[in-house]
């Protein structure tokens, strides 16, 4: 009997099952939050959900697929722009938000065919160029009025309280759906393939991984998530300013949240988003020097703690709440007894 027989592959531990149950309960509680929390609180939570969504998407792209994009603001802005356009054609605002995000994801398909042929730094800067080109094209639309921007006034037809709750639920549902999708995707073949490509593209290819297709699925999903964040932001802020909605600062924020929280974990970006949200609330008024600090802290984390805070937690206590990989653990006593019995049988 080989020693390897003492190990079993584990995907769920007891702590993780509890965490999954906890997540379900947390989302259910958050769904009921409008009963207890006032308008301002809901608005803040909506902002937090946008941050979480952005961080999770950037982590999916950069952490798991190794695609460092500096151009995700393209979809953040494009989703909002499509939603505005649809509303101008007479769509109801909330369906327009969802369809707008889907439209941005549709644009991501041809863009991905182009961008995914590039590597590393070239991919990063070219994705930025694409975002800039899309922004300029959008600014040609008379509806947007160039630098002036426009706003989603159709939302004002709703009673303000109703609007806040509807936007909140839309944000919560989007976040939950995208997190679950990401989690399932990462545990599927595609997730494993993406990480294999990130670690060694040639080796993955030689094992039969369809590199382009895998990357494309992840890229388009991340684009859709960012577009959802963009339309939620539009519904929450009402105004649409091309330079803000297509601003590269969104990528700076994503970078900060993921680096501080922890790259390549499910939990890290969520934690990073909460930290970023709190910092924004406390220091947001300091303007440029606050943003300076954000940049410096992101660099410091990249240098000193590349795994982020959650990476440190995991290294210290081995805690993993939402496992996307498999792990070898020593088999339980029962399993070993059962195997010993089987061995004995085969001998006789």
């Amino acid at each position: 009997m080989s020693r390897a027989g003492e190990f079993v592959v584990e995907r769920w531990s007891a702590a993780e099952r509890r965490a999954a149950a906890g997540a379900v309960i947390a989302f259910a509680a958050l769904a009921l939050a409008p009963l207890a929390i006032g308008g301002q609180g809901l608005d803040k939570l909506t902002t937090l959900f946008v941050y979480m969504l952005l961080a999770a998407m950037w982590n999916l792209l950069s952490g798991y697929a190794g695609l460092v994009s500096v151009g995700q603001q393209a979809y953040f802005g494009l989703g909002a722009y499509f939603a505005l356009r649809l509303v101008s054609f007479g769509f109801a605002p909330y369906p327009a938000l969802l369809v707008g995000a889907l439209g941005a994801a549709a644009i991501a398909v041809p863009v991905s065919i182009f961008l995914l042929r590039l590597r590393d730094g070239e991919f990063a800067v070219a994705s930025w160029v694409v975002a800039e080109a899309i922004r300029i094209l959008v600014m040609f639309d008379l509806l947007v009025q160039g630098e002036t921007g426009t706003s989603l006034i159709a939302l004002n037809s709703y009673d303000p309280a109703t609007r806040l709750v509807a936007t909140y639920w839309f944000a919560l549902a989007s976040l939950a759906a995208m997190l679950v999708t990401t989690f399932l995707l990462l545990r599927s073949r595609i997730g494993a393939a993406g990480q294999a490509i990130r670690d060694d593209e040639e080796a993955a290819r030689s094992l039969g991984v369809d590199v382009t297709r895998t990357r494309q699925i992840i890229y388009v999903l991340a684009a859709f998530g960012c577009a959802l964040a963009g339309v939620i932001w539009l519904a929450s802020a009402i105004t649409f300013l091309p330079r803000t909605n297509f601003g590269v600062q969104w990528t700076v924020f994503m970078l900060f949240m993921v680096l501080v929280g922890g790259l390549r974990t499910m939990e890290g970006p969520i934690l990073g988003a909460v930290i970023f949200f709190v910092l924004q609330e406390v220091f947001g008024n300091y303007g440029a020097w606050y943003l300076f600090g954000i940049g410096v802290v992101a660099v410091a984390f990249a240098l000193a703690l590349p795994g982020g805070l959650w990476g440190a937690v995991h290294a210290r206590w081995g805690l993993h709440l939402f496992p996307v990989g498999e792990r070898l653990v020593r088999g339980s006593v029962d399993a070993r007894v059962a195997r010993a019995v089987e061995d004995a049988r085969s001998v006789t």
Partner: protein
């Protein structure tokens, strides 16, 4: 139209100056410095500060600033980039991008958001022009920028082809391990390359500030242009960078005659089409990195 073409070619000189540093550092240390544009702006603001505080001539003030920028490049490579380079391809990108954000907002905090320019500190150079026959006039400042760029590239070429440091640099860019085995201090060479790259960025930033209004957030756009010039001209080739800069400058200036937004858009479109053409000529797999890298010797 003829005006746009002349302007475009001269603007290409500025892009070559900006892009050569980016290309050099990429060639030697294999990472794209996403803070390159912001470092250019930092150089411009440092000159602006000296001019405002001490009433120096901008060209005089540029000299000490270039040394400061070179030192900054050296120490950033030593303390920052060299550490991140050990962490694979992801970390240098993240670090330089974060650094860029820090520089932008630091400049904003120190200098405010008002658009600034060196244009009003250089006397009539900012609007003077050479009058040529057939009613053509060419601005003196663009010509000076172009000439400086060609001189900077020429000096860099001489440095690379004639000096011991240049040979070590070319060796490091081709194969760091082999260079190390032959007794080259690759880390030191990379620091030297970073010093040159950041000083060149600062020099380009000064010319940018003389030509136009700048603000603390101008850096990212300049990085994008520099990168476009590098890719169009071919990574690792100095004079290719000049060609790339001229192609980009031409596209932008001709685009600007169509619409005000056309300046940026035409440049981006030419760049993206160029990339597309590269894929087409290479088939689907693309050339491996190391084969596209560096042709300093033949440059």
């Amino acid at each position: 139209m003829f005006d746009a073409i002349v302007q475009g070619v001269l603007l290409g000189g500025y892009y070559a100056m900006l892009a050569s540093g980016l290309s050099l550092l990429f060639g030697v240390a294999r990472f794209i410095n996403l803070a390159h544009g912001d470092l250019a702006l930092l150089g411009a603001y440092l000159v602006l500060a000296l001019v405002r505080r001490f009433g120096l001539d901008p060209f005089v003030a540029t000299v000490p600033v270039l040394f400061v920028m070179a030192a900054l490049g050296w120490f950033m490579q030593k303390w920052l980039f060299a550490r991140t380079m050990r962490g694979g391809i992801l970390l240098p990108l993240l670090t330089t991008f974060g650094l860029g954000a820090a520089i932008q907002n630091g400049l904003y905090g120190a200098f405010g958001s008002d658009a600034a320019s060196l244009g009003n500190h250089i006397g009539n150079l900012s609007w003077d022009s050479f009058d040529l026959p057939f009613g053509i006039s060419i601005g003196k400042l663009p010509v000076l920028t172009f000439a400086t760029a060609v001189m900077a590239l020429g000096a860099l070429q001489l440095l690379l082809s004639r000096t011991r440091f240049g040979r070590a640099l070319r060796a490091t860019s081709q194969d760091p391990e082999a260079a190390r085995l032959s007794g080259v201090d690759a880390e030191r060479v990379q620091r030297g390359a970073a010093a040159i790259a950041v000083a060149l960025a600062g020099l380009a930033g000064v010319f940018l500030a003389m030509r136009s209004l700048i603000n603390p957030y101008s850096g990212p756009a300049e990085l994008i242009y520099a990168f476009e010039a590098v890719v169009i001209g071919g990574i690792g080739s100095l004079w290719g960078t000049l060609t790339g800069g001229i192609v980009l400058g031409l596209a932008q200036c001709v685009g600007a005659t169509v619409s005000p937004q056309g300046f940026q858009l035409a440049g981006h479109v030419v760049f993206l089409v160029w990339l597309g053409g590269r894929f087409y000529s290479q088939g689907t797999r693309g050339t491996p990195w190391h084969r596209r890298l560096l042709k300093w010797g033949s440059a």
